[in-house]
């Protein structure tokens, strides 16, 4: 039992979430993401996928229930310790949230800078990663001059570049063709193989069928376990 708790990267217990005085968007959500696991989160539009991811990446506190990250109960974690926890999470936002005044390269390098790494140490890593997502020739481009799919790949590169312990991706293949979608999936799989726990919210059935991974589905704000992943 003790070992089980330690290996849980994310743990939700009876979590409820409402925005302001609105209706409950999430109800009694309970699940565990174990270290090194790979999980899909599905559900209709408006089902609450992004909301659930926000609770994991510490954008919002839950209205009720318990959220535990890396073994730490967030409700009793000091605010001063939040930044260190956040830096262990890579996030691909549904709306990318790239910084418009920075080049593709600088956007991707941002997490490394925040971690205090020196530029000469990471230039090569960033360039390799940008080449891998097919943007080797657009490194100095500003986000506004790139297509939606290209911006999405920069957002993905930014989320994975620092090899986070936990990767949260919200519709990461929503704007790319199936071929690039598969390529990005291989990137996530590779990261997962290196030890990162991965949670991907998606509508893309083909993508889910292509991976033998666990699938959790949100229905009316409640979580339904559809597939238990590799072991099954």
């Amino acid at each position: 039992m003790h070992r089980y708790v330690l290996s849980a990267m994310v743990r939700f217990e009876n979590v409820g979430m409402r925005y302001g005085a609105g209706p409950e968007v999430l109800r009694d959500v309970t699940f565990v993401l174990e270290a090194g696991s790979f999980t899909f989160l599905t559900g209709l539009s408006g089902a609450g996928k992004t909301t659930l991811l926000k609770l994991i990446n510490m954008t919002e506190p839950p209205s009720r229930g318990l959220v535990t990250l890396f073994g730490q109960d967030l409700s009793i974690t000091k605010r001063a310790d939040f930044p260190a926890l956040r830096r262990r999470i890579g996030v691909v936002f549904q709306d990318f949230r790239l910084l418009s005044h920075l080049s593709a390269f600088d956007n991707v390098a941002l997490p490394l800078r925040l971690a205090g790494r020196k530029e000469n140490e990471y230039v090569q890593d960033v360039e390799e990663l940008l080449s891998w997502v097919g943007l080797g020739d657009r490194m100095q481009a500003r986000p506004a001059t790139l297509s939606g799919g290209e911006q999405q790949r920069i957002a993905i590169a930014r989320a994975v570049v620092a090899r986070p312990d936990l990767l949260i991706a919200d519709e990461p293949t929503g704007n790319v063709d199936p071929e690039i979608g598969q390529r990005l999936m291989r990137l996530f799989a590779e990261l997962n193989r290196l030890g990162t726990t991965v949670l991907i919210a998606t509508h893309d059935r083909a993508l889910i069928e292509g991976m033998r991974a666990r699938e959790m589905r949100l229905v009316d704000g409640r979580l339904v376990e559809l597939r238990t992943g590799r072991a099954a």
Partner: protein, 293 residues
């Protein structure tokens, strides 16, 4: 903590606000200069007059002759400890003094003019002016001791009024400058709030985010206010040069010029502007960050 600045965009939108800061700094430096000049001038006036005495002897109504009274008065003055020097003004000097008021023709020469004795007090010496006045009255009944006390009091009042007005203007402009700087800083932050939130979400420490902004606004305010202060300094030094070249700004008033040794005071304006910008940026960013989870 590297490259905090590199994350922040070059702020083109802030140019009008830099202009406001520059203009406010120019006005603040002008007011500061004016208060320095008023201060110095007031000191000079007082120093120039407070060690001078004038004894006036009006044409006698008593039996002593005018010249005799002058001699006796001179004797008393020269015998008084603390009086460094005493000498009568010649007829010509006295005529020169009254000429602006009554002209200079032959008639005037016949007017019974008072005789004046000019005396200076040894710097630092205490002279009992009341006693001196009484003694003079005894030996020379038509003498009048004038220590310029009334003049000095009025000049001091004038100088104080100028000084305090300058301080008041300085204070108002300082408040306006502070408001402009902090407004500019807040507006800049507003434009960057998505970036602040993203950096926060990515795990940047609040202090790191605040530093990126405070440096940025410190530097822009410093630069803008320096330009304003330099222009004000140029104004005052230019006025000094004009005066040196013989052009008097307003006759009778002290010249509108700063001494070179006073110019460094104007540096306080950009320094204070920079610090206000830095403090506003820091407090605003930290307050904004405290509001989000």
């Amino acid at each position: 903590m590297i490259a905090a600045n590199a994350i922040l965009p070059r702020d083109k939108g802030a140019a009008p606000l830099d202009l406001v800061i520059g203009v406010m700094a120019f006005l603040a430096a002008l007011a500061l200069g004016a208060s320095l000049i008023a201060d110095r001038t007031a000191l000079g006036w007082r120093a120039g007059l407070s060690d001078r005495l004038t004894v006036q002897i009006v044409p006698p109504t008593h039996k002593m002759g005018l010249d005799e009274e002058v001699d006796v008065a001179l004797g008393v003055l020269r015998a008084t400890p603390g009086i460094a020097h005493a000498a009568p003004l010649t007829q010509d000097q006295t005529l020169n003094l009254v000429q602006p008021w009554i002209g200079k023709d032959a008639l005037v020469a016949d007017l019974p003019l008072p005789r004046l004795i000019d005396a200076t007090i040894t710097p630092g010496a205490e002279v009992d002016l009341a006693a001196l006045s009484r003694t003079l009255k005894q030996v020379a009944p038509d003498s009048l001791l004038d220590d310029h006390a009334r003049w000095i009091a009025r000049l001091k009042g004038l100088a104080d009024a100028i000084t305090w007005s300058a301080y008041g203007i300085l204070l108002l402009i300082a408040i306006a400058t502070a408001a402009a700087v902090s407004f500019a800083t807040r507006a800049g932050l507003q434009a960057h709030h998505e970036m602040v939130e993203l950096l926060h979400q990515m795990g940047a420490q609040s202090g790191f985010i605040a530093r990126a902004f405070e440096r940025h606004y410190f530097v822009s305010a410093l630069v803008a206010a320096s330009v304003g202060a330099v222009l004000a300094a140029a104004f005052y030094l230019g006025a000094g040069a004009l005066e040196f070249a013989g052009v008097e700004a307003v006759p009778f008033l002290p010249p509108l010029a700063l001494k070179f040794s006073e110019v460094p005071w104007l540096l306080a304006v950009p320094a204070v502007s920079g610090i206000i910008a830095l403090a506003t940026a820091r407090l605003s960013v930290l307050a904004a960050l405290r509001k989000i989870y």
